[in-house]
């Protein structure tokens, strides 16, 4: 199925399976994540796309019953290896969740949270700059530059989600994972996030889970279709949407189920 292995992927999943107790959520998935491009993971609810996404920075570690098999490498190194420090991995592979969850801190402290953990800024001035650059990259700087000390929760939903993206960018990751980042937002705020994803592609590899097929078509270069825990098809987004090679994919994108 994996008809487009990439020549120099940033992450590679090889035969990854995830089980919760005796329920198999992801089965034998092999998938590359390419540099400077957006990979969309689509499929009906419960198909395992979010579970797979969360394997990529080991967010499933927090679920005691979850078991991950297979290998996932980041720049050639196994992220499930014994030597891998999870905190370090998550600094390199960030994730943005469905619901924006600003910390109960100021806008500034929200962005500075990650860098402080990893000791990324030695002086106050460095931190100021890092916060500004991150907010600017998330397209939020102009809207909040005069009120950095106000609470992150005082922002609108769309702004909060961009704050969460800024917070993720601030630790300078290589890969950004997004788990339905716009499903809690209105169309205008969603459009802003989509534009932002397109800009972020210049500097980061991005994998996004979305239920919105138009969104997948708009923002991604590659699309992977999941069904009942299997990776059914992956390929260039144009091709998958105009000429799907699997019957299941075609049924899903033409709206026959999902």
């Amino acid at each position: 199925m994996n008809d487009d292995s990439l020549s120099n992927p940033v992450m590679t999943a090889h035969k990854v399976s995830v089980t919760y107790g005796d329920k198999c959520a992801v089965r034998n998935v092999s998938l590359d994540i390419g540099r400077n491009q957006v990979l969309a993971l689509i499929g009906p609810s419960g198909c395992g796309k979010s579970t797979f996404l969360r394997c990529l920075n080991r967010m499933n570690d927090t679920i005691p019953s979850a078991r991950v098999e297979g290998t996932i490498t980041l720049d050639g190194q196994n992220i499930y290896g014994k030597k891998q420090d999870v905190a370090q991995l998550r600094a390199r592979v960030g994730i943005v969740f469905q619901k924006p969850t600003p910390f109960p801190h100021s806008i500034y402290a929200n962005v500075a949270y990650g860098p402080r953990i990893h000791g990324l800024a030695r002086h106050r001035a460095d931190m100021d700059e890092l916060v500004q650059v991150s907010l600017a990259r998330a397209g939020l700087w102009d809207e909040v530059k005069d009120r950095l000390s106000t609470p992150g929760t005082s922002l609108s939903g769309g702004q909060q989600q961009r704050l969460c993206i800024a917070r993720t960018i601030a630790v300078n990751p290589e890969v950004i994972l997004m788990d339905e980042p716009t499903s809690a937002l209105d169309p205008i705020a969603s459009a802003k996030i989509e534009d932002l994803i397109d800009e972020l592609r210049e500097n980061y590899a991005i994998a996004i889970v979305t239920h919105n097929m138009q969104q997948a078509a708009r923002v991604s270069q590659r699309t992977a279709y999941f069904h009942m825990g299997d990776l059914v098809e992956v390929g260039p987004t144009d091709r998958v949407f105009t000429n799907p090679q699997q019957r299941l994919t075609e049924d899903y994108i033409t709206g026959r189920f999902g």
Binding site: F97, K99, T101, F103, P104, H105, Y113, G114, I117
Partner: protein, 282 residues
């Protein structure tokens, strides 16, 4: 009779019943407060806060008892609440549904509703008997044991109310659990945890039974923690039961002082938290 009218009647009946129940409760509360104020105010004077508890028939105040209550409540909270908060944190964040957590949670629930006189006897056995005499520190320990289950329960409940996404987001930025707890969960649950502390203070500052077996009482000014110490609840208990009018007046005044203190404490803490929250907007 058509259904709409019947429905309205049912609704009206239910509403009246709820209203009557509410009013009954409030009326009892008002009656208690009124009795307390009408009797207590006559005993109020500057002497209360400057003089020691007197022998019958002579003038005096409650200074030693007020001081003793303050010290033992403070010590009780200082010893008990860190244990309660940390144990609550363990249950909510680390232990979850492990066998140990389930056991701790069950025992804590038992402790939460245990009669306070049992706690007093317990400290009497393990502290007072060994020391050979009553002491303020034994009183503080008894109050600490009472404060633990209250703070433990509220801390656990409040931490469980913090959205899971917030915890995940912190972990996703590479934070270890201790960091997430200190920098994200505690700030997010702050007002709830503080409310728990206030509840604990309110609970222990009025307790009589545990102090009767531990700190006992002291007619004189004493700041020694190893010695018996006066305290409002025991003084109220002793003076209210006495046949002397001046002692009974002091008991009423003492009861009023405890009530007003707790009231002021609760209200000011709530105002403070509201201000803090308005400032940080969580």
């Amino acid at each position: 009779m058509n259904r709409r009218v019947l429905r309205k009647i049912k609704n009206g009946a239910f509403l009246s019943l709820s209203l009557v129940a509410t009013l009954t409760g409030l009326a009892c509360l008002a009656a208690i407060l009124w009795t307390l104020i009408s009797h207590g105010v006559s005993g109020m004077s500057g002497r209360l806060f400057t003089q020691m508890t007197p022998p019958p028939g002579s003038q005096g105040g409650l200074l030693n008892a007020i001081y003793g209550s303050g010290v033992m409540t403070l010590l009780g909270i200082l010893i008990g609440s860190p244990i309660g908060v940390l144990a609550g944190t363990y249950l909510a964040e680390y232990g979850r549904n492990s066998r140990l957590s389930l056991t701790i949670r069950f025992i804590n629930d038992v402790l939460l509703s245990a009669p306070s006189i049992i706690i007093g006897l317990f400290i009497y056995e393990i502290v007072v008997v060994r020391m050979g005499h009553f002491s303020a520190i034994a009183g503080a320990l008894a109050l600490a044991v009472l404060a633990i289950p209250v703070t433990l329960r509220t801390t656990e409940d409040m931490l469980n109310l913090v959205p899971i996404g917030m915890k995940d987001s912190s972990a996703a930025l590479g934070a270890y659990p201790w960091r997430t707890i200190l920098s994200v969960l505690y700030p997010a649950a702050r007002s709830g945890i503080v409310t728990g502390l206030l509840l604990a203070i309110a609970r222990i500052s009025g307790e009589t039974a545990p102090l009767l077996f531990t700190a006992l009482n002291n007619q004189f000014w004493s700041t020694r923690l190893a010695a018996p110490m006066a305290n409002l609840p025991v003084v109220i208990f002793q003076f209210a039961l006495s046949p002397y009018n001046d002692w009974q007046d002091l008991a009423w005044a003492g009861a009023l002082i405890i009530t007003v203190t707790i009231l002021v404490l609760s209200i000011s803490a709530r105002v403070l938290l509201a201000l803090l929250q308005a400032q940080r907007g969580s």
